[in-house]
């Protein structure tokens, strides 16, 4: 990442701190900043100078955030929520695709004459490989920086730790448990999955309501407070 890109990323992060500036607002401001930087560079300023002048012209980030808050209200909790929901969906999707592919490969292996213990190995390997493959793909996309970081989702490390945890636990399970043991615990894990599908949505709904209440309360607080 070039020096300018780094400075812009830092400036974006500063704006994202605010509860009021939405990702789309920041994108719009960034477009302005880049236009001004290009214009100033044409006039003979260096990249660093152009950035400083353009940033100054655009205005102090905290003052900008205050102005946006008057128009937007406090919207970050809702944005958080939408990104959380998207994350859950992607995770579920990866799980479904992995299951589908592993079951497909078991079917193919069975048709090719593989049966019994080796079939179990095929099933387990296929499941682990597809899940890890998809997670690795997701990780690559997230770390490549091509994916614009959503406002408020400031800690990419958390996501990395979660993905790494998933991968490691799956890797460790195969040699530690063995295929036979895996079969024995299948119904326990299926029971756990059932519980997650039942409890998960309730937990998500509770989180959604809590966030929504928080967002509304802070918006009301702004409406009541002095408009500076």
């Amino acid at each position: 990442m070039s020096d300018l890109e780094q400075r812009i990323e830092q400036w974006r992060a500063e704006l994202a701190q605010s509860q009021a500036v939405a990702a789309s607002d920041i994108n719009e401001l960034e477009s302005h900043l880049r236009d001004d930087i290009a214009h100033l560079q044409e006039a003979g300023l260096s990249e660093a100078e152009a950035f400083l002048v353009a940033q100054h012209r655009l205005g102090d980030t905290s003052r900008l955030a205050r102005e946006f808050r008057k128009v937007n209200g406090d919207r970050r909790p809702l944005e958080h929520l939408s990104w959380m929901a998207l994350g859950v969906l992607v995770y579920l999707l990866v799980g479904y695709v992995a299951t589908g592919l592993s079951q497909g490969s078991v079917l193919v292996a069975n048709l090719l004459g593989v049966q019994g213990y080796p079939l179990g190995v095929v099933a387990l390997t296929a499941r682990a490989m597809t899940f890890m493959g998809l997670m690795a793909l997701l990780w690559t996309v997230l770390s490549s920086g091509k994916c614009r970081r959503p406002t408020g989702f400031s800690d990419r490390r958390t996501a990395r730790v979660l993905v790494a945890g998933q991968l490691l636990s799956r890797l460790a399970a195969v040699p530690v448990l063995g295929v036979a043991e895996w079969g024995r615990i299948a119904y326990v894990s299926n029971f756990g999955r059932l519980a997650w599908y039942a409890v998960g949505p309730i937990l998500l709904a509770v989180a959604a309501i809590a966030l929504r209440t928080h967002a509304l309360r802070s918006r009301r607080a702004w409406a009541d407070g002095p408009s500076e």
Binding site: E28, L29, H32, R34, D36, R57, L58, E67, F68
Partner: protein
Amino acid sequence: MAVSKDLVAASATPLILSILADGDSYGYAIIKRVKDVSGGRMEWTDGMLYPVLHRLEKQGLIESYVQTSETGRRRKYYRLKRQGTKALAEHKSQWMLVHNTLQQLWERKPCLT
């Protein structure tokens, strides 16, 4: 001579509406136009334009759409709506009234007696 902050704030809406009446535009170009037309004497803190644009959009006076420019950058353009044209006419008559009033007061009256 720079225009006072209050006057800049008060004139922001009619300025934006007038520029959009000439054709769709985006934030950076709007500010540039104001600077050019005023000969650089109307200084805005650039960022403050955007909350005003968003407020006008919420009020239904303008609408926005995203378009990719020739340089490949995605820009948010604003377009004047019918409601905005009406609002601009209203602003115009109010500003003209203020302008005419001040002009009459400032005109040197000939002393006939």
